[in-house]
């Protein structure tokens, strides 16, 4: 069987005309994070450790919407959320409203392991982070010029957007689309399975550009953006509200189980049932299958299996 790993840097309306200076750093980021994950799996680390490690890398990368590089709320602040789940034990941890913790995914892991709760948010989560001695910084650490610009654009257009969304609701000039070429980032996530069938998933995000302060998306909602059980591990990305309503991550596993179909079929089935342009996901099964379907224009993603296969892609959902 062998191990398998998939990562994503967000799904959305990534234009095919995405200029190289926007595309290349993200592809390089995906490549590097994939390699980190592969090395960890080769070294026989538990998938839970692998997904946390990889998501930490993605959070630290400023071109993805998580950790540093998180998109901004309507008041220009950063409110990050993250979630981690172990498929075998079904233990999970989630955080929201985190503004100073360098790696929200690690905080989520600590909630899972060091408290009797699953989910801590805002002041309570920040206080817990300090109790646990996690690395914290000034909020400005996470804010990048691209995101300040992104927020400005969104406020001018007076809408909330998934990071990728071009101004599709209204008529917009071509140059706005190119300017929006810089907003091609999104939630990050990683799913992994080792050769014993241990599964894990982790997702992290800054959320939606121009979101209301206090808005929580799908990422920390177990069963929506993140889910793992003995069958598969899933991390979703896209329009949070649609993913919540569609209980996307949970449904992949449910459909596999109840309809007795493969991971790929189940994942495609679930993505088909959310409104077009709203979601994508990565998933691995206990038998090493990988699926990465999306119904948006693109999804930054990468995957690898022990037999040597690997892939980095942005568009073209026809195969995985």
């Amino acid at each position: 069987m062998g191990w398998a790993i998939a990562i994503h840097g967000g799904a959305g309306d990534i234009p095919l005309s995405l200029p190289p200076e926007k595309r290349l750093p993200r592809e390089a980021g995906l490549r590097r994070c994939l390699e980190v994950g592969i090395a960890a799996l080769k070294a026989r680390n538990h998938p839970l450790d692998v997904v946390e490690l990889v998501v930490r890398e993605l959070e630290n990368h400023p071109n993805f919407n998580a950790g540093k590089g998180s998109v901004l709320t309507t008041t220009g602040t950063v409110e990050m959320e993250a979630c981690i789940m172990d498929g075998k034990t079904m233990k999970c941890g989630a955080v929201s409203g985190v503004s100073t913790v360098v790696n929200a995914i690690s905080l989520a892991r600590l909630v899972m392991e060091k408290t009797s709760h699953i989910y801590l948010a805002f002041d309570g989560a920040e206080a817990f982070a300090r109790d646990q001695g996690l690395e914290t910084v000034e909020m400005s650490h996470f804010i990048t010029p691209e995101n300040i610009e992104r927020l400005k654009q969104a406020q001018e257009a007076d809408r909330v957007q998934i990071d990728y969304t071009q101004p599709i609701q209204k008529e917009t000039p071509k140059d706005a689309a190119v300017a929006d070429g810089d907003s091609q980032i999104g939630t990050v996530g990683c799913v992994a399975v080792d050769n014993e069938g241990n599964l894990a998933t982790a997702t992290s995000t800054g959320g939606l550009v121009n979101k209301m302060v206090g808005r929580i998306g799908d990422t920390p909602v177990i069963g929506a953006g993140t889910y793992a059980n003995h069958l598969c591990a899933v991390s979703a990305t896209g329009r949070g509200e649609a993913i919540i309503r569609g209980t996307v991550a949970r449904d992949v596993a449910a459909v596999m189980e109840f309809k007795g179909i493969s991971l790929k079929e189940a994942a495609a089935y679930v993505i088909d049932r959310v409104p077009p342009g709203t979601a994508g996901l990565i998933a691995v099964s206990s038998t090493g299958e990988i699926a990465m379907p999306f119904n948006t224009t693109g999804m930054f993603r990468a995957c690898a299996t022990e037999d040597g296969y690997s892939e980095i892609a942005i568009w073209d959902s026809t195969s995985k």
Binding site: T115, H117, A121, F122, F128, G214, I222, R245, A254, V255
Partner: protein
Amino acid sequence: MGGWAIAVHGGAGVDPNLPKERQEEAKRLLTRCLDIGISALRSNLPAIDVVELVVRELETDPLFNSGRGSALTENGTVEMEASIMDGPKRRCGAVSGLTTVKNPVSLARLVMDKTPHSYLAFAGAEEFARKQGVELVDNGYFITEDNVGMLKLAKEANSILFDYRVPTLGTCGVGAALESPILMNGLPISVYAPETVGCVVVDREGRCAAATSTGGLMNKMNGRIGDSPLIGSGTYACDLVGVSCTGEGEAIIRSTLAREVAAVMEYKGLNLHEAVDYVIKYRLDEGKAGLIAVSKKGEVACGFNTTGMFRGCATEDGFMEVGVW
């Protein structure tokens, strides 16, 4: 088949030694809430309005763990959460970390109806409430003497539970509680406040809706979010069914319990009663929880693996039942 149906709950996990008059008080409140819902259904109010109306009533009454009468955080404050879901288009709204909003379920409704989002929490939610002009009160309004006492006992229980040198405390208070082996979410059942209230409704048009509200786990960490505001865990509604869960929040989240009921109906073709039985039996593992559910066909069902669940249900053909055990 067909016609409206409604169920309400005041929480699962009841102290077997609960004094009779407290049980009667609970049944009276459940009956009153059912009557409010029934009356609304007879006036053809849509399911989504009925669940909000009924849960508001449960929040306002201090008896159960929601709104006034909420369980307290480790700091003695109240942090409330709620969610609501409308079956037909699966629209939903949720809130967490509320400290001054008199009726959390109504704020959840406003999130659903008035924002592009599904879930708002803490300062952002409170700010939204202020802007919407909903009724706000001091945090003290929600705190009852009963719960202040319970918090004290819970803290004692938690420290004793983790200290192997258990002192004998006599026949009352925590000592007696510890002699009873029933624990919910780490607390002896006598100090555990059944988490949440909820209501599920299907109206005459076959539209399902669900709403859940709570103060959460007694002695919880500040910032702790349970299952009640999480769509798919504590609350779920779709074309087929409306579900509201209660019990050990973490167990309900892990098993995405509310969604599970709908999923086995959808994918395994189980009917409502079979689905409820199935998920309670097979999806909770070591967890303890209960739920109420209605189907678009006008059926109503309750299930729980705890010692009791405060609940009531009624259907248009005249069936009505209120119970604790």
